[in-house]
Amino acid sequence: MKHPFQLLLANSKGTHLFVSVKNHLQVYDLSNGNVVGSWSDTVDISVPSKKQEKKVASVEELKGDKKLKNNDAKPVAVAKTPVPIQGATPIYNYIRSLNLSKDEKYLVGTTDSDKAAVIFEVDLANSENCLKIIKRQIFPKRPCAVSIGDDSDLIVADKFGDVYATTIDSEPPVDEKALTPILGHVSMLSDVKFTRFNGKKFILTGDRDEHIRITNYPKAYVVKNWLFGHHEFVSTLHIPSYDPSLLISGGGDDYLCLWKWYDNKLLAKIELRDLIAPYLTEAHMPAERFLKPDSVKEISITKILTHSVDDKKILLVLCENTNCILTFEIAGDFSVKHLQTFVTKDSIIDICLEETSGRVFASIDREEGDLVELYDLGPDGQLSVASTNMGTKITEGNHCQVESRQNFYPLYYINTLRKRSEH
């Protein structure tokens, strides 16, 4: 069977779709469903790279000594590539994030394998392969999220809590030991957003300890303020393109927060539990070792999107491992009204939105059939299945075969951010 698509990202004109599946990136031309770009992360994750280098060096040395000492061509023991112990947690070549620059000339992906940000030049005129890798910048710790500022700033947040600034260009990468963070939380970061307000630049960061921090930029040593409102981890930060003074945040809570982030003001909490409850399953219960008598099914936010349709401001929310998309309308007074629970046949892994027409793309978790579905967001803010077979065409372009579901990468990992107290 085919491995499902994971990350999805459409360009603003809706002409191309960028996707990830396991350790591969693909670019689809949405006029005909053809694959016009591809890249694979071929870094070998069975052996940490430093150990690989050391082993090669010691084998070389051994060969050298032997040559001097004697003339018999005795076979030299070759260092064995260590095999993971049976039962050890498998590691995956995740491509953890995908972002396009504002001018959409660059695509940035982050790889778990070598903890790098991979920067591609996107040349849509090149139908052989529109992706050309121009820099692979390795970071000290696994990048979790990136945000691309204007002026080619690439802001990278890592799992250790640090944020680095590097540049989108074809300059050689900096030695990761020479990199210093521009700011840091003592907590795993989950999302980062570069934004502008009142002519000034800011960086917003969300972490596992419920924090959303607003920091000045480039003087990232000056914190502006924290936004307090979440009781569980923050996983997703979204700034609507139609109003950059707003922030919508979500994570492990039963609600989203709508903020005027610059003014440190919580405008609304958008309650989700009653709406999503019918779509939560046993898979949303905590793992057995964390189960308590009062445990409930847990909500985690995978994606927050917004779209302006005829002056109607629509909010779309994807909760992790559910087969629906929730839509809301944000009114002028910032009250939020539930519009629709758009139900799909199978769980949705990721969604993205194409700005121009409001078309929504969804990567679907299923073993046969279309792995991408397309929906239209109508002027009434309602989603409906789009009448197109593009989803089938894109599925045909997926050649990532696996034996069974057991070989899928873990598709839903946001809930692992939830803190569990020992008991």
Binding site: G184, T215, K219, Y221, Y262, R420, S421
Partner: protein, 233 residues
């Protein structure tokens, strides 16, 4: 157990935000019941207060200011709580009644902004911090470039960071990071000599007294929190 891992101890309690913190539980005599508000705010924080020696010596010096010790170790925090309860009981009719000092178990590396508003503190003490000698543990040190930005946030302009240690390597590390951070400026020896907190810090803590008994050296470095740059919010 002596150590608590500041990165992953999830049993800690902390308020949702500074506005949610119930300071009346720690400083009952400074709570005005009629208006349900505090008559004073915490302005002095002892980060890693250990057995509370510094708190007890600072109490009489700042009678109208609230002083808070933060400690991550459970048993040590309990000791200090009991110590303060005993002092308050013993001195309840005295001028210095120790009602303005308190302690809580907290992780200052993660949750200072949950407790303190922007610019709330006028002094922060870091006395004999854990050196975390190994290179790979340096990120666990209480003074790092990234943490200093958070300390600069809770400290007001002109506020002072006090550091003291008997580990020269740690002193060099802390001084270097504070010197490099654009929001802090080193205070010189002349300043140290006229500041009463410096002399209190030198002798007040149990760790400090142990160093004196063992004829060890103590290194001090103090820094002023500089004004926020004009172009920053």
């Amino acid at each position: 157990r002596a150590h608590s891992n500041p990165f992953s101890d999830h049993r800690l309690e902390y308020p949702r935000s500074p506005e949610d913190m119930k300071w009346e539980k720690l400083y009952p005599q400074y709570h005005d019941k009629d208006s349900d508000s505090m008559l004073s705010k915490v302005e002095i924080a002892d980060i890693g207060c250990g057995y509370g020696g510094l708190l007890t010596k600072l109490a009489p010096e700042y009678p109208s200011t609230l002083i808070l010790g933060m400690e991550i170790r459970v048993q040590v925090t309990q000791y200090v709580e009991d110590r303060i309860i005993a002092l308050r009981e013993k001195h309840k009719d005295d001028e210095v009644n120790f009602q303005n000092i308190s302690v809580l178990r907290g992780n200052a590396m993660k949750f200072l902004p949950n407790f303190f508003q922007k610019g709330q503190l006028s002094k922060m003490f870091f006395c004999f911090p854990d050196p975390h000698f190994k290179q790979r543990k340096h990120k666990a040190r209480i003074i790092t470039n990234t943490l200093l930005s958070e300390y600069a946030y809770v400290l007001r302009e002109g506020g002072v960071v006090y550091t003291i240690t008997d580990v020269e390597d740690l002193h060099i590390w802390m001084a270097k990071h504070l010197e490099e951070h654009p929001m802090f400026e080193r205070l010189d020896k002349a300043w140290e000599e006229q500041d009463k907190c410096v002399s209190i810090m030198y002798n007040a803590t149990e760790e400090g007294q142990k160093v004196t008994r063992n004829k060890g050296s103590k290194w001090i470095a103090c820094f002023r929190r500089l004004p926020t740059p004009e172009d920053c919010d």
